[in-house]
């Protein structure tokens, strides 16, 4: 549970609001984050941030106002000031034309199962040492530069409201390691990534071995400029995670669905949407994801089916959208979902997968994906690290930067094979606060008729 010094202050603030007849929700986010940033085979920057953020939302009938504070929380005076500011915002607010859903913690939650103190305190020296091991293993073999980053740390999330006495608390740790190897003359880039919940899950030798396995293809072969048109593509884990998120953005947000802006807007639960090999859930109970047990409207998060064997099951409603369209919220008042694309019955391992794919493009990473037309599920992006040409099941050349512009329904309706093994991909953003987010996706996904719209003359 949250440190008693702060918890007591928050509970006292809640009780104080209750006595004054103020409907208030209070949330707290604490993080310890550290990151090393690699550039030119050096640690270019090593950072550490220890931050506490308080969020207060006040609701009065159809009026809502909120306020947040990033500061060391040490006194009831700070909390009362934040509460007063949110209350002022609420009083000045325009009333909505619907009844907003006031947050209520459905059940008490106290979850630290994903917390590893060793990972929270992973020293920058340990990170530097591992990276140095990779550089040492590979640098003498070529004119390479290594870049990358390694973020690790802990996040605590706490949520209460005046609606009841329940408290929801979560503490977890996570790590995302990305190392990029760039050849300076030909400018190709290879990447190795690792996601972890605990320390000790990978070594310099593992990382170096993965680079070493990729290197010969790039060292010995010129870049391949593929044809524009529809082709078979074998996607790797990071690309699959991006494709699944795009499919969800374009088709499964309640707001867009209700406003006929989603490619699923004309569908109802039970309609066929994708290939029957495709099952997508938001499942906080899945062992491979970080598993957020509650949301910031107080809902207990449970496994939620979006697509089951290709059948459209339902869309995600945050409390605001649910209130507006008179639906039930689905536990999605938060950033860090737990999306799982189910594994399939394709042959095990990348090698077997590529034999099955035969003649195809292998694209394990995508860059700068965007949605020109959500109503069709249209996306556009370009290939990035580790992309290769496949001929007769063998990698034969590295791939020049290749643009894919297609639709989610097309890609996920033309599935040839899905790997039987899964990979966890850390998709956390650190734009605001530390929000550990991971997806579980198959090791590969082979699709036919993927639309290639442009090819560069370089990597």
């Amino acid at each position: 549970m949250l440190e008693s010094r702060i918890r007591d202050l928050l509970l006292a603030a809640r009780n104080s609001a209750r006595k004054k007849g103020i409907n208030a929700e209070l949330s707290l986010h604490r993080e310890k984050s550290s990151l090393i940033r690699l550039g030119n085979s050096s640690v270019a920057l090593s950072t550490f941030e220890e931050l506490t953020r308080l969020g207060v939302s006040v609701q009065d009938g159809r009026k809502v106002g909120s306020f947040s504070l990033t500061a060391d929380i040490t006194s009831q005076e700070q909390l009362q000031s934040a509460l007063a500011q949110a209350h002022e915002n609420c009083k000045a607010a325009l009333p909505k034309n619907y009844d907003p859903i006031f947050g209520t913690v459905e059940e008490a939650v106290d979850d630290s199962t994903g917390y590893d103190p060793a990972l929270e305190n992973l020293a920058p020296e340990a990170k530097t040492k591992l990276c140095a091991g990779v550089v040492k293993a590979l640098k003498p073999k070529g004119s390479y530069d290594f870049s990358g980053s390694w973020s690790s740390g802990s996040a605590e999330m706490y949520y209460i409201s005046t609606a009841n006495d329940n408290e929801a608390y979560r503490r977890l740790t996570d790590s995302r390691f990305v190392m990029v190897l760039k050849e300076q003359n030909r400018k190709w880039e290879l990447s190795v990534e690792r996601t972890a919940k605990r320390t000790g899950t990978f070594t310099a030798e593992d990382v170096a071995a993965e680079f070493a396995a990729l290197l010969p293809m790039y060292e010995k072969n010129e870049g391949f400029k593929t044809d524009i048109g529809r082709q078979r593509v074998m996607f790797g884990p990071q690309a699959i995670a991006e494709l699944v998120m795009l499919a969800i953005w374009g088709g499964f947000f309640g707001r867009w669905f209700e406003e006929k802006r989603a490619y699923t807007s004309s569908m109802k639960s039970g309609d066929k949407l994708f290939s029957e090999a495709v099952t997508i859930t938001d499942d906080p109970t899945h062992p491979d994801v970080f598993g957020m047990p509650f949301d910031f409207n107080g809902k207990i998060r449970r496994s939620f089916s979006l697509v089951e064997k290709g059948i459209f099951r339902g869309v995600l409603y945050d409390s605001l959208t649910a209130a507006r369209y008179k639906r039930q919220p689905t536990g999605h008042d938060l950033e860090n979902w737990d999306i799982v694309l189910a594994t399939g019955d394709g042959p095990a391992g990348i090698e077997s997968g590529r034999k099955l794919a035969a003649d195809a493009l292998y694209i394990p990473h995508l860059h700068y994906i965007h949605l020109p037309d959500p109503t069709k599920g249209m996306f556009t992006c370009s290939s990035r690290f580790n992309a290769m040409r496949l001929e007769k099941g063998e990698f034969t050349a590295p791939l020049f930067s290749t643009r894919v512009t297609d639709t989610s329904p097309n890609v996920f309706s033309n599935v040839v094979a899905i790997a039987p093994d899964s990979v966890t991909v850390n998709v956390s953003s650190t734009y605001g606060q530390r929000e550990p987010t991971a997806m579980s996706v198959p090791e590969y996904l082979v699709c036919d008729n993927v639309r290639i719209t442009d090819v560069a003359d370089s990597f």
Binding site: S34, L51, E88, N89, V178, H367, D373, S401
Partner: protein, 494 residues
């Protein structure tokens, strides 16, 4: 009891002494006495965002044995510990170091910057802001409009910067952003939209008065509503190669993605490879590379009224105005002091003589990185928009991004826009919907053949440029004239 600003300044100075004694070659601190943010959004008339934020804290950097360590805390009682943590981080970083960073010649600057403001947005009552936005929302209502969006964002930061060279800068940042949008589905069910972001001419003041000046925001409500109706009734842009005329509302994105990011020195040196990406530019190309036609003149500008004008960067350097691309030749990059030596060493000659004064952080808890400032295209001598239209036989005018996707080294791009106007034989003929265009950066800028005069030049604000690890969102500006490019691939073949 909140610690007083003056007391914090004294504590910081003492830490510099301590860090230098510990062998650091440089240390600096950014104390955010206040970082305030407010966002209000009406969606279909409902107040969907009504939030404000306050942050206060300190971020410190130390340079030890050529390596950077950074630490940040909101606990102002723990400033010495924060410096210790930064020092420990630098020591760890120094264990894997290729090129030793150094700040170059020391400089001592005493500076103060205040943005031009008549009315501080944080002194304007929320009710007044909501009444203003509600008025625009009412004007956007129409039976042809399915959904309406109107919002405003305000930022105010009071930052005290100090470093171990004796530099001290007292800087305020104040930004006002506004945006409105109308949306409705077309006959094919695709949601079409038309929008406007608060813009200007780079002059005047940047307080609440800018938002309420009808010339730059509310006065366009009727126009975007009418144009949405035209888009909904229009045919999709047929695919094909044709001339493209970019209005500043689209031109800013073209500059941002294919010039601005590509010229950030940290990207060129490879420090962003694992996240935002690299650059097609290599250090040795600076001073030699033909980036575009002779019509292309691009600068890192100090524009009077822009979020990309900040007085002093986050190394304390006074912001400079300098060319990035001169008559099509790449001559400068966006940089900080600490990367110059490395860039020059990599190029094998002196390619950057002084800092580009472009290093900034988005908050006290993020370390400064190379950021765009005002990446402006100088006005040309090809007349007004009408003059450029008259000179065009077969083309389209494009405005406002809907989607954007760019190669990791910024070498190729695909952009979608809200609206296109066909130009045939020197006349604007009809509207097209779903316009897209794509190209390769150097080839595209090489095809620039007309640049509008000052009458076409507009300052566009960017409130949300994402970059860096840990991630940072930064605000900046682009001053852009109307530009024409020849024979560009437009539209989608399927």
């Amino acid at each position: 009891m909140a610690m007083k600003t003056e007391a914090i300044g004294s504590i910081i100075k003492a830490q510099f002494e301590r860090m230098l004694s510990a062998g650091c070659s440089f240390a600096d601190a950014r104390f955010y006495d206040e970082d305030r943010y407010q966002r209000v959004v009406l969606y279909d008339g409902n107040l969907e965002s009504n939030t404000s934020r306050y942050e206060r804290g300190i971020g410190v950097r130390v340079l030890k044995d050529g390596a950077w360590g950074f630490a940040a805390t909101a606990n102002l009682e723990a400033i010495p510990a924060c410096f210790d943590r930064a020092l420990a981080n630098a020591r760890a970083a120094a264990q894997l170091l290729g090129f030793q960073k150094d700040m170059g010649p020391a400089q001592t600057i005493k500076g103060r910057y205040r943005p031009p403001v008549e009315r501080d947005p944080f002194e304007v009552p929320l009710a007044e802001k909501l009444e203003f936005l509600k008025g625009i929302d009412t004007r956007l209502q129409d039976k042809t409009v399915a959904h309406r969006y109107v919002g405003a964002t305000f930022q105010r930061r009071r930052v005290n910067y100090q470093n171990s060279e004796g530099t001290e800068v007292d800087k305020w940042v104040l930004n006002t952003f506004g945006n409105m949008m109308v949306m409705t589905p077309d006959k094919q069910g695709r949601t079409q939209r038309r929008s406007l972001e608060l813009y200007g001419k780079g002059t005047g003041t940047r307080g609440y008065e800018w938002l309420t000046d009808p010339d730059w925001f509310s006065g366009h409500a009727e126009r975007i509503k009418q144009e949405l109706a035209q888009i909904v009734a229009a045919e999709p842009l047929p695919p094909g190669k044709r001339d493209v005329i970019l209005l500043p509302g689209q031109g800013f994105l073209q500059v941002h993605e294919t010039i601005g990011h590509a010229l950030e020195l940290d990207r060129i040196l490879g420090y962003e490879l694992s996240y935002a990406g690299g650059s097609h530019v290599r250090p040795e190309m600076i001073g030699k590379l033909r980036y575009g036609s002779e019509k292309l003149n691009c600068r890192s500008g100090v524009t009077d009224n822009s979020p990309g004008t900040f007085g002093y960067d986050d190394e304390g350097s006074a912001q400079r105005d300098y060319m990035l691309i001169d008559k099509g030749i790449l001559v400068g990059v966006l940089s900080c002091r600490a990367d110059l030596a490395e860039a020059n060493a990599k190029a094998g000659r002196t390619i950057v003589k002084q800092s580009g004064t472009a290093t900034r952080a988005c908050s006290f808890y993020r370390s400064p990185i190379d950021r765009m400032t005002n990446i402006n295209i100088d006005p040309g001598n090809d007349g007004t928009l009408e003059d450029i239209i008259k000179a065009t036989k077969d083309g389209v005018i494009l405005d406002v991004p809907v989607s954007w996707s760019i190669g990791s080294n910024r070498e190729h791009f695909h952009f979608g826009c809200e609206i296109a106007w066909e130009v045939k034989d020197g006349k604007r003929t009809k509207v097209y919907k779903n316009p897209t265009y794509q190209g390769h950066t150097l080839e595209f800028w090489g095809s620039l053949d007309m640049v509008g005069d000052q009458s076409t030049w507009e300052l566009r604000q960017v409130p949300n440029c994402g970059k860096g690890e840990p991630n940072q969102v930064m605000e900046l500006g682009h001053g852009i004239p109307v530009m024409r490019f020849r024979s560009v691939q437009t539209g989608e073949k399927e």
